[in-house]
């Protein structure tokens, strides 16, 4: 199997309840959009948090051969969108994007098309859930990260917003980023997903190229 861009080996994260991740192994190519699918509690969000360096775990994660850990250097390579992005209600959209752009040393629009984000002077507390999600997505895209970890980025978006997100993801991944996108539905990402990884009970229970013309199926180690 050719060298994978993102390698996950034996990733284990156990909670006291016994739930968590049980020895996840993944090998994903550069430029792929990976749809992470599974029922509630299957470990999708936990996997994304471990990859983002926000949770402790056993095992190893490598991106382009370099180990990912909780250091700033690792986090600079990752853009993370949690399931429910949270910002202080009193802050404005412009202040939120300004802060995170300064932390990343990036431009504060996340490369999203005009009109996708709420006005800069709008207070977060006045935004709908979908609009807050858009701000969270812009934060995740700041600074052109190598690895995008997006927890249900299409939730609460209208069809136009979903199309925009799909287009932005495709464009980013065509430029070399890899995206892992959790989704409750295997079809939600539509034609842009290259790989589908199914999780259940904290284990990988299936992988398939999705749709058939993924960029480098051999690197996935999955049958076509």
């Amino acid at each position: 199997m050719p060298d994978a861009y993102l390698e996950v080996r034996g990733l284990t994260k156990l909670y006291r309840s016994g739930r968590g991740l049980h020895g996840i192994d993944l090998a994903l190519p550069r430029g792929a959009i990976v749809a992470l699918q599974g029922p509630n509690g299957s470990g999708k969000s936990t996997l994304l948090r471990c990859l983002a360096g926000l949770a402790t775990y056993r095992g190893e994660i490598r991106l382009a051969g370099r180990r990912l850990d909780r250091s700033p250097a690792s986090r600079a390579r990752i853009g993370f969108l949690p399931q429910a992005p949270a910002f202080p209600a009193e802050a404005t959209v412009g202040e939120v994007l300004g802060l995170f752009a300064r932390l990343r040393g990036a431009e504060p629009d996340g490369g999203l098309p005009p009109g996708f984000l709420p006005p800069a002077d709008e207070r977060i507390g006045a935004l709908s859930e979908g609009q807050r999600h858009r701000v969270g997505l812009a934060v995740a895209l700041l600074g052109d990260p190598d690895l995008l970890l997006l927890d249900e980025p299409l939730a609460n978006l209208d069809e136009e917003g979903r199309r925009t997100v799909r287009d932005v993801l495709r464009a980013r991944c065509d430029r070399g980023a890899t995206a892992i996108v959790s989704s409750p539905s295997p079809t939600e990402l539509g034609a842009v997903a290259d790989v589908l990884v199914r999780l259940d009970g904290g284990r990988v229970v299936g992988r398939e190229a999705f749709p058939a013309d993924d960029p480098d199926p051999d690197a996935l180690g999955v049958p076509r």
Binding site: R49, A52, G53, L54, A55, T56, R70, P72, A73, R75, A76, I78, F80, P82, A84, P85, A86, F87, P88, E90, A91, E95, L99, F100, R102, L103, R104, G105, G136, V139
Partner: protein, 275 residues
């Protein structure tokens, strides 16, 4: 100061300055400071003394007790609230060390609290300016400095409590209990222990250094009275052992340690725990 520390500090300062309860605490402090000053000035006039006299000393207790509580609640509430709501997760997902986030948040919160306290003291200083003499300026500066230092240690301790606690309510409850212990319990315990275990002035000094509120109070009183008479035999011991400058430096260093230590603990907690 790094870019990340400055960015987080500016962000926290703006948010704290907009919080209604911070504003309410600032108004309460201003009203209390003005009321204490008016009452103390009445005593000054009644005694026929000149200068700010007992008015400065009367502000010492207010300047230690209320700002330390404000700092603890601000530090604990803000940190734990940001963690509970996921804002801290968003911050720590960025390429920035947890210690930088902690220091930036501390500077922003302490800065907003200092602004609030400065406005509160402003009301008292306007009243005091009618009787203040040039030689009163160092005493007032010591009072304000000690107040700011105690408030900063409160923010730092509150942040550490929040970083290690399970949630915002728990952090606020622990911080309030800690303040009651430091403001009241510690003195009572020292008073009870001192005679029975022959604590002596050296033991009392250790007790003072272990309590930032007490260290701030002694620092402010030393500033208002460099002969140490307001502190009784303990003041005489401090001046004989360390001299006025040495005692002030020791207490100031202790308060700095009460900021640095808790911030280090908070950073350690954030670097290790799951978010």
């Amino acid at each position: 100061m790094t870019r990340a520390v400055a960015a987080v500090a500016a962000w926290e300062y703006r948010l704290a300055a907009r919080a209604r309860w911070v504003l309410a605490m600032g108004v309460a402090f201003a009203l209390l400071a003005a009321a204490v000053t008016v009452l103390a000035l009445g005593t000054v006039r009644g005694l026929g003394s000149t200068g700010i006299g007992p008015a400065g000393a009367a502000l010492v207790n207010l300047g230690v007790l209320l700002p330390s509580l404000m700092g603890l609640l601000l530090g604990a509430g803000s940190f734990a609230g940001e963690r509970d709501h996921g804002v801290l997760t968003m911050l720590l997902a960025q390429p920035v060390r947890p210690s930088r986030v902690v220091v930036g948040a501390f500077l922003g919160l302490a800065g907003s609290l200092w602004t609030t306290l400065a406005i509160g003291y402003g009301a008292a200083l306007v009243l005091l300016s009618a009787v203040a003499r040039a030689e009163d300026v160092p005493a007032l500066a010591a009072l304000v400095g000690a107040t700011f230092a105690v408030a900063a240690s409160g923010v730092a301790v509150g942040a550490a409590v929040a970083a290690w606690s399970g949630g915002r309510l728990q952090a606020l409850a622990i911080s309030t209990a800690l303040w009651i212990l430091l403001a009241l319990g510690f003195d009572l315990a020292l008073a009870a222990l001192a005679p029975s275990v022959h604590l002596g002035p050296g033991g009392l000094l250790v007790g003072v250094l272990l309590n930032p509120l007490e260290a701030g109070r002694v620092l402010a009183l030393l500033g208002t009275d460099l002969q140490g008479t307001a502190l009784g035999p303990f003041g005489a011991y401090l001046l004989a052992r360390f001299g006025a400058g040495g005692a002030v430096a020791l207490l100031a260093a202790d308060l700095v340690a009460w900021v640095v230590g808790p911030l280090a603990l908070a950073s350690r907690a954030l670097a290790r725990r799951d978010l």
